[in-house]
């Protein structure tokens, strides 16, 4: 106990990790619901509808189903590595969340002031790329250890794709690092402060900066490929490879790969928000102090709409279910209106709002674009994306260095 008392950071970190993990895993589960709903509406369907009001209990049902399914291990599989691969994929995907700053506020946990992130590292960007670069092993080892041909082909494709697109992704980020002059997430965000949203790196055009719109597009394209999503989901192309690298996985181990994929989507969206869209900065001027009541007001409005929905449209068991959700929205909204909570919530509100916006783009792409052919994917990555991000990097560095060259002769 004495040891723990000497290092309060241990206790505070454990509390923060527990809360973040709970929130992240819930968000992962509901991200699948969100995706199914959006894709369904794109295709003029209803999507999940019967399990809970608006299908809201579908993720819970899916989770239970995974839990109770039979665990199969293919014969001739390398047992240790077969088990290791899903753990590696999921734990690495969740670890990256530790580096993400969710807001500028300082909160008190057990009497110790702390900020809304787990690890404030000097070189957050490099650490994030370090962790994601190990993430390839989850996919590669899963395919190899299954002792089956489709998973092996899928994992080879997937690893090749991840390695190829990682290059363009990293290079498109370097432009932002040049503009920001720092590798720390908080500093990168703070450099984008001022002048509404005109200082966000994606459109910033002032002294010593160059709008990173091309960088943003390159980053986002590479990120979709990096997370193995449509239109770059070749590794799981079910028409040719059954289900790619996780064909032989069942039950919870399959669920872990599934969750890892969604966790990677969230991480990549968070990174895009931080680097290009100003992180937790508000698009409104700082002088408009009333904006701190926006999260609470938004939740209250949502609650009122849900109440109307409950009374007007819900029948049977769905009515009490949606009533509970309504009460939760109203309750959280009311709590968020307290001044102390409201000022702390503002950063996370904008941050999560932007992340959700990017995630919607992800799902939108999935709902509209067909899958690439494998050779098209590789030539697109190496012959188009990489040169474009390199040109973006060269132009950006030239724009930044040119004034200095002129000044010093």
């Amino acid at each position: 106990m004495e040891f723990v008392a000497q290092h309060p950071i241990l206790v505070v970190s454990v509390v923060k990790i527990a809360v973040l993990l709970f929130l992240a895993l819930t968000a992962l589960a509901y991200l699948t619901w969100f995706e199914r709903k959006v894709v369904a509406h794109i295709q003029s369907r209803w999507g999940p509808y019967y399990v809970g009001a608006h299908g809201l209990l579908q993720p819970v049902a899916d989770g239970l189903k995974f839990l109770f399914k039979e665990e199969l291990t293919p014969s001739g599989a390398d047992k240790l590595i077969y088990l290791l691969a899903p753990f590696l994929a999921l734990s690495l995907a969740l670890t990256t969340l530790a580096l993400i700053p969710f807001g500028p506020a300082t909160i008190n946990i057990l009497g110790h002031p702390t900020n809304l992130m787990i690890a404030n590292v000097d070189i957050s960007v490099l650490f994030l790329f370090a962790i994601t670069s190990i993430g390839v092993y989850g996919v590669a080892l899963a395919g190899w250890s299954s002792n089956s041909k489709y998973p092996l082909l899928g994992s080879l494709r997937s690893s090749a794709q991840m390695i190829s697109y990682e290059v363009s992704m990293t290079i498109s980020v370097v432009g932002v690092l040049l503009v920001a002059g720092s590798l720390n997430f908080n500093e990168i965000i703070l450099r984008q402060r001022g002048n509404f949203f005109l200082h966000w790196n994606v459109i910033r055009f002032d002294h010593g900066a160059f709008p990173q719109i091309v960088g943003f597009l390159c980053y986002f394209t590479a990120a979709i490929a990096e997370t193995n999503r449509v239109p770059f989901d070749l590794p799981e192309g079910e028409t040719e490879l059954v289900a790619g690298f996780h064909t032989e996985y069942s039950s919870l181990k399959f669920a872990m790969f599934f969750m890892a994929e969604y966790a990677n989507m969230i991480t990549v969206s968070c990174l895009a928000t931080i680097l290009f869209l100003g992180g937790w900065l508000s698009p409104l001027p700082d002088s408009w102090t009333w904006q701190m009541y926006l999260p609470g007001a938004g939740l209250l409005a949502l609650g009122i709409y849900l109440a109307y929905d409950t009374v007007r449209y819900m029948r049977g068991i769905a009515r009490p279910q949606l009533a509970v959700v309504t009460l939760m929205a109203l309750g959280t909204g009311a709590v968020c209106l307290l001044p102390a909570v409201a000022s702390a919530m503002l950063g996370p509100f904008w941050f999560l709002g932007k992340v959700l916006f990017i995630l919607f783009f992800y799902v939108w792409t999935r709902g509209t674009l067909p899958r690439f052919r494998y050779d098209q994917l590789m030539s697109f990555g190496w012959k188009l994306l990489l040169p474009v991000s390199l040109v973006n990097l060269i132009v950006t560095s030239f724009v930044i260095v040119y004034p200095l060259l002129v000044k010093h002769g």
């Binding site: 000097d122 092993y137 590669a140 190899w144 080879l156």
Partner: protein, 169 residues
């Protein structure tokens, strides 16, 4: 006992265990994975010494890029289980005692010198982290010429690899 001190032993033990497994494992892919464990444990040790940048680069380059290639080759060639041979006479009577002697000698000198204690106490004792900015200033100003020469060398190596790969077609 301070936290960095404790962590040093955790990661040092991990590195040694990984290195032993690397040699003792019979499956090539297990050896490759043990090597990754060693790399990551070393990165953690760099972190304890306050060298954040080196730690991140160690993971990105060695664990993330070099070892991926190793694993790829092992997967593609489907390398089988290693064969066990009887110890060769040379290794048994000359190699093993010499290796043990070298290990003891190193341990002896490390234990006597101050260096061991400094490393174990980590950055907490030295109190300074090697900043990325300082490193890049060194690299791009003081050592710019060697840096550029090295990049040209690597470029030539890439071209050479391309030429060798193309010759077969």
């Amino acid at each position: 006992m301070s936290l960095p001190f404790l962590l040093f032993f955790v990661f040092a033990a991990t590195a040694v265990a990984g290195a032993l497994l690397l040699i003792l494992a019979r499956e090539p892919i297990h050896s490759a994975l043990s090597l990754i464990v060693v790399m990551v444990a070393l990165a953690a040790l760099y972190l304890l010494l306050g060298a954040e940048f080196i730690a991140a680069v160690q993971i990105i380059v060695y664990a993330g890029a070099v070892m991926v290639l190793f694993v790829f080759v092992i997967m593609l060639l489907n390398a089988g289980v290693e064969e066990r041979t009887n110890w060769s006479k040379m290794a048994k009577y000359a190699g093993l005692p010499l290796a043990l002697f070298l290990l003891l000698e190193l341990a002896h000198w490390l234990a006597r010198s101050e260096a061991g204690a400094t490393i174990a106490n980590g950055a907490a004792s030295s109190g300074q982290a090697a900043s990325t900015r300082a490193l890049s200033v060194l690299l791009f100003q003081q050592y710019l010429f060697p840096f550029e020469v090295t990049s040209i060398l690597i470029l030539i190596a890439i071209l050479g690899a391309l030429v060798l790969a193309k010759r077969g077609e």
